[in-house]
């Protein structure tokens, strides 16, 4: 556990120091959200209806922006070789790096989302469910992004490919995320159920994604 914490801490420090991580993703998120009202026109009722879905899509894209960095640099500079030889199972290394990505990128985005919602005339009653759904969903987003990052780690400029591979996997999170955020509109009981399904997806990817990512990375190290 202490070893994993050392790895998580290092990755977070690296993301914060190198730039291009959390800051860029937040900036991108903000920019998309600012552009939306300009594109959609000044219809406030329409905006309020679209806001949760628009925030979710902007969140997915922002998370993917930095996804290819999860393993890329460690692969290029040989750190991944040494980690693969280390005392920690490689699956846990992949898990720790996904968690670091979540803490440094996805979670800040999820926390920022309700504030950016003000720009989209987000209804106040939706803020809390949206925040809960995004916090839960963002774990899954980082874990799935790690699979895409691992599969493309040996490719030059694999960033776009990561998006192509991972965005389809995001569909369930998007469906239940929007359902949880819009719960009040859809009827009673929908939001809690959707939140529970989001939690289930998060737990499943917590187990499966590190295994998939580690397998992909191993095949590159050979």
């Amino acid at each position: 556990m202490k070893l994993l914490w050392a790895l998580i801490r290092r990755d977070i420090v690296l993301t914060l120091r190198q730039g291009g991580g959390a800051g860029t993703a937040l900036g991108f998120f903000l920019t998309v959200v600012v552009l939306l009202p300009i594109g959609l026109g000044p219809n406030q009722a329409l905006m309020q209806k679209l806001a949760p879905g628009a925030l979710w899509i902007a969140l997915l894209l922002s998370v993917l922006l930095s996804a290819d960095r999860i393993f890329q640099q460690d692969y290029d500079d040989g750190s991944l070789d040494i980690m693969a030889m280390g005392p920690v199972p490689f699956e846990l290394v992949a898990l720790a790096k996904s968690v670091a990505h979540w803490l440094s990128t996805s979670l800040p985005l999820a926390i920022a989302a309700p504030f950016l919602g003000f720009l989209l005339n987000l209804s106040p009653s939706v803020i809390l469910p949206l925040f809960l759904a995004m916090t839960l969903g963002s774990i899954t987003l980082s874990l799935l992004a790690a699979i895409g990052a691992a599969v493309t780690v040996g490719l030059r400029r694999g960033g776009l490919l990561v998006s192509l591979l991972v965005l389809p996997l995001y569909v369930p999170v998007l469906i239940f995320g929007v359902a949880a955020s819009n719960g009040g509109v859809m009827g009673d009981g929908v939001a809690p159920a959707a939140l529970l399904i989001l939690a289930a997806i998060a737990l499943a990817s917590l187990v499966l994604s590190p295994i998939a990512a580690a397998a992909a990375l191993r095949s590159y190290l050979k």
Binding site: L3, A6, R10, V13, G78, D81, I82, A84, M85, K222
Partner: protein, 199 residues
């Protein structure tokens, strides 16, 4: 402790890199790997480290900790330095100490004359200094088997002497070293493995 390889064959991309390699390395012995570029020196080291799989043959570390893989009992110094340029020299080493379970930072920095640079960002180091930072892992973390891939690249004479001293001390303590290099390492290797390379 003894590392025995028997009839090792390495295949990469459907091509046989080397075949039928065998050796037996005892405690306190240094093995020098030589051979032309592409002969498979790095492949052999990665294979011993467990990063590649052998197409055929066996590799046994007798007398080691049977719960651990050979890689977990070995140091592997590759061409890439595994140095993070955004971290300081000390932070780089401190991470590997925490992750791999090691000893004193000061002693490791001292062994490769890096103490002066401890608080520098690793991105400011020259190529030779980065290499010394990578080599400092050898002094930081105790491992019986060292796999060194061209460890002397970029080192000046003083640093080369330090590396030779660290290697000698390791061998005297009963460690084992396999080094792929054509540079004389200050002492005669106990074993020499010449990979011929296939054209």
């Amino acid at each position: 402790m003894r590392l025995t390889a028997d009839n090792l064959t390495c295949e990469r991309g459907g091509r046989i890199v080397f075949a039928g390699i065998g050796f037996s390395l005892d405690e306190g012995q240094l093995m020098q790997l030589t051979g032309p570029n592409g002969a498979g020196k790095s492949s052999l080291l990665r294979l011993i480290a467990g990063l590649n799989e052998a197409a055929a043959g066996t590799l046994v570390l007798a007398g080691g900790d049977s719960d651990l893989t050979i890689g977990q009992q070995a140091h592997y110094i590759a061409h890439q330095e595994a140095v993070k340029t955004a971290l300081t020299v000390e932070e780089n080493l401190a991470f590997w100490r925490d992750f791999l379970g090691g000893g004193s930072l000061e002693a490791a920095l001292e062994a490769f004359a890096l103490s002066r640079f401890a608080s520098f960002q690793a991105g400011l180091l020259s190529a030779g200094q980065k290499r010394r930072l990578a080599l400092a892992r050898l002094a930081l973390i105790t491992r019986r088997l060292w796999l060194l891939d061209e460890p002397t690249v970029g080192l000046d004479t003083a640093s080369l002497a330090r590396l030779v001293a660290v290697m000698s001390a390791h061998l005297d303590r009963g460690g084992m070293i396999i080094a792929a290099t054509h540079v004389p390492l200050g002492r005669d290797p106990d074993l020499r493995l010449d990979l011929e390379g296939r054209t």
